[in-house]
């Protein structure tokens, strides 16, 4: 009967209840949207950086991080691959890369470029790099073909079919130079790299740099990217006798961690402001409701209802309102999130340039995460229930005679 009383009390002033439910609903929607968008953007940044730059984890020569030179490239042959794969079932596969900086020249213009030799099949399996080709295709080993970041191609005034000249230093000071046919242009998600990346096949790059069978980085693709530290430790044990070390993306990009943490903090501040605004809105309604029903509370206390039971009824009312608001917020929020998940927000013009400059894609993606639903739903629920303390305290200290006046 207490539940019935609480439920019916909700609907005695339909408009007020609907306004309260709506305000909680919009609060949940706003909180879900802000958090999902923030998480989506951070995840996108992380995916791009780990997918195209570092991977989740790398094996390098132990000297390479301090001195990223081809001289510190290491031998990657079948025996090393087999040793890692055999000892570590949680390693999905390995991606060999060799990278260095060289001069890249078109017909008239020369610029510094980052040359990366990759195993295209494995690379695509990891980051779907083929899907980022705007035009053309990756070449096979020995075909002497190069794929350029679109930004770099524009700077060098090169198009598919043109010849690219590369000049630089190979392993142990060897002179390296070669001519490559531009076979494709890639739309690289990180602007800085888009303006300097050149992809060659792994073998072509190793030949160009006089570093046969050598790689500068071996990207480790784990079965579970969320559980890197144990794998990192066990892999370190496996490769330490080869003068190799294992680095996670967190160790390789501490500045990215800082950027993510800062972004998370800004998001939290926004959420807290939102919570405060919502809290005051809901408090206003609960306050009105409490004052309106003061006399009724007085009568119920007079006839023999315990204060605790009366407070319980009011608490259940607020709980009903909160649950209705949170559930409808989940409903509406899911529709909105679904829409933006399948139709990400695309920025154009100056805004897009600005985002590129900060290393972000000009697209904002939404993450669907049960954790966000749980967290935001609970946060709003807790706020509402805290607000409910007001009528409960009011009832606890209510003077029966005063309230009946």
């Amino acid at each position: 009967m207490y539940l019935k009383l609480a439920w019916r009390n909700l609907w005695r002033n339909k408009r007020r209840t609907l306004i309260t439910v709506s305000s909680i609903m919009f609060a949940v929607v706003a909180a879900l949207f802000v958090e999902s968008l923030g998480e989506g953007t951070r995840q996108q940044l992380l995916d791009n950086m780990t997918g195209f730059q570092t991977g989740y984890m790398q094996i390098q020569d132990y000297r390479y991080e301090d001195e990223p030179s081809l001289d510190n490239a290491f031998l990657f042959d079948d025996s090393l691959e087999q040793k890692i794969q055999t000892d570590h079932q949680d390693v999905d596969f390995l991606i060999p890369r060799i990278e260095t900086f060289m001069l890249a020249a078109g017909e008239e213009i020369t610029r510094g470029a980052m040359v990366m030799g990759i195993d295209i099949e494995k690379e695509h399996q990891f980051n779907e790099i083929r899907d980022r080709l705007k035009i053309g295709e990756f070449g096979e080993s020995g075909e002497q073909k190069a794929v350029l970041g679109e930004g770099l191609a524009n700077r060098l005034n090169l198009a598919v079919g043109d010849t690219l000249a590369l000049l630089g230093q190979g392993r142990f000071g060897m002179m390296s130079s070669g001519l490559f046919e531009v076979s494709g242009l890639i739309d690289f998600p990180i602007r800085e790299l888009d303006n300097q990346i050149i992809y060659l096949s792994l073998e072509d790059a190793q030949w160009l740099l006089s570093a046969e069978e050598r790689v500068t980085n071996l990207v480790v693709v784990p079965e579970n990217p969320r559980n890197l530290n144990p794998l990192s430790q066990s892999l370190s044990e496996t490769v330490k006798n080869d003068e190799l070390r294992v680095l996670t993306w967190e160790e390789m990009m501490p500045e990215l961690i800082e950027a993510i943490e800062f972004d998370e903090l800004s998001g939290r501040v926004m959420l807290w402001i939102l919570y405060v605004v919502i809290g005051f809105g809901i408090f206003g309604t609960i306050l009105t409701m409490t004052l309106e029903r003061k006399r009724e509370f007085g009568i119920l206390l007079s006839v023999g209802m315990y204060r605790t039971k009366l407070a319980l009824v009011v608490f259940i009312e607020t709980l009903f309102i909160s649950i209705l608001g949170v559930l409808s917020g989940f409903g509406l929020g899911s529709l909105i999130l679904l829409y933006f998940h399948f139709t990400p927000i695309q920025f154009t013009g100056d805004m897009a340039d600005l985002m590129h400059d900060f290393g972000f894609e000009a697209t904002m993606e939404i993450t669907f995460s049960p954790e966000i639903y749980m967290l935001q739903g609970s946060a709003i629920l807790v706020i509402t229930l805290l607000i409910c303390l007001y009528p409960s305290l009011k009832i606890a200290g209510m003077d029966i005679l005063e309230s009946k006046k």
Partner: protein, 231 residues
């Protein structure tokens, strides 16, 4: 043994600023089955007296005993339980829970007493029928007239099987027909079930029906008259 006794009951509001003597040394006894009216002008202390007897207010001096139990100074949780099981209340207006039907309003008080479902059902039907509201069981307060609402309030007060009912100006908002009808019902319950009623009122219609009339002036008992029962 009297059902209610007040011993030297006094109440002073604002004792430190502008003292208002709402009750002055009131000594009264009420027997079971009385149909009593406390009358007097506004501010004479009628409602304060009823609040003291009902345990809703605390006297500055003196105490109240109900069926031998001293309720003055009782712990609040004990007092709530005591009120629930021993005292029925009918207030001037806004007596009922607006979202409950007449039937639910009556059963609610029994729910607080943790009575069985069957007993609640039977008692609610019996009381509402006795109050002439058999066909209004499912009506909510806003669908009832003022008189009907007060009759539901009386049924609710009786539902808990209290030792007596305190009715604070129950007819104040009612037209003559509704007031007479309500008084008829209460008189019937008094006569047939020996329910004790104590009213505070300045409504002459109520005073005329009462068998005992206590007149209060400035917080003190001015007169305490008993009428002979109708032959």
């Amino acid at each position: 043994m009297p059902i209610i006794t007040t011993h030297n009951l006094s109440k002073v509001y604002n004792p430190d600023t502008v003292p208002v003597h709402a009750l002055r040394d009131v000594n009264l006894e009420f027997e079971e089955g009385e149909f009593t009216t406390v009358r007097g002008p506004s501010g004479s202390g009628k409602t304060t007296l009823l609040n003291m007897i009902g345990g809703l207010d605390i006297p500055t001096e003196g105490h109240v005993e109900i069926a031998g139990t001293r309720i003055t100074g009782m712990k609040e949780s004990k007092l709530i339980e005591f009120r629930l099981n021993n005292i029925g209340f009918v207030f001037q207006a806004y007596n009922l829970i607006p979202v409950f039907t007449a039937y639910e309003n009556v059963t609610f008080i029994m729910l607080l007493q943790k009575r069985s479902k069957q007993e609640m059902k039977e008692r609610a039907h019996e009381l509402l029928s006795a109050m002439g509201l058999k066909d209004k069981l499912d009506s909510r307060p806003k669908e009832l007239s003022g008189g009907e609402q007060q009759r539901v309030a009386v049924a609710r007060a009786l539902a808990s099987r209290p030792k007596f009912i305190l009715a604070d100006e129950p007819t104040a908002n009612l037209d003559t027909d509704s007031a007479m009808n309500l008084l008829d019902m209460m008189e019937k319950m008094n006569r047939e079930e020996n329910v004790t009623f104590i009213f505070s009122t300045h409504d002459q219609r109520v005073i005329d029906r009462a068998r005992r009339v206590i007149t209060m002036v400035d917080g003190a008992i001015d007169k305490d008259e008993r009428k002979s029962p109708p032959s």
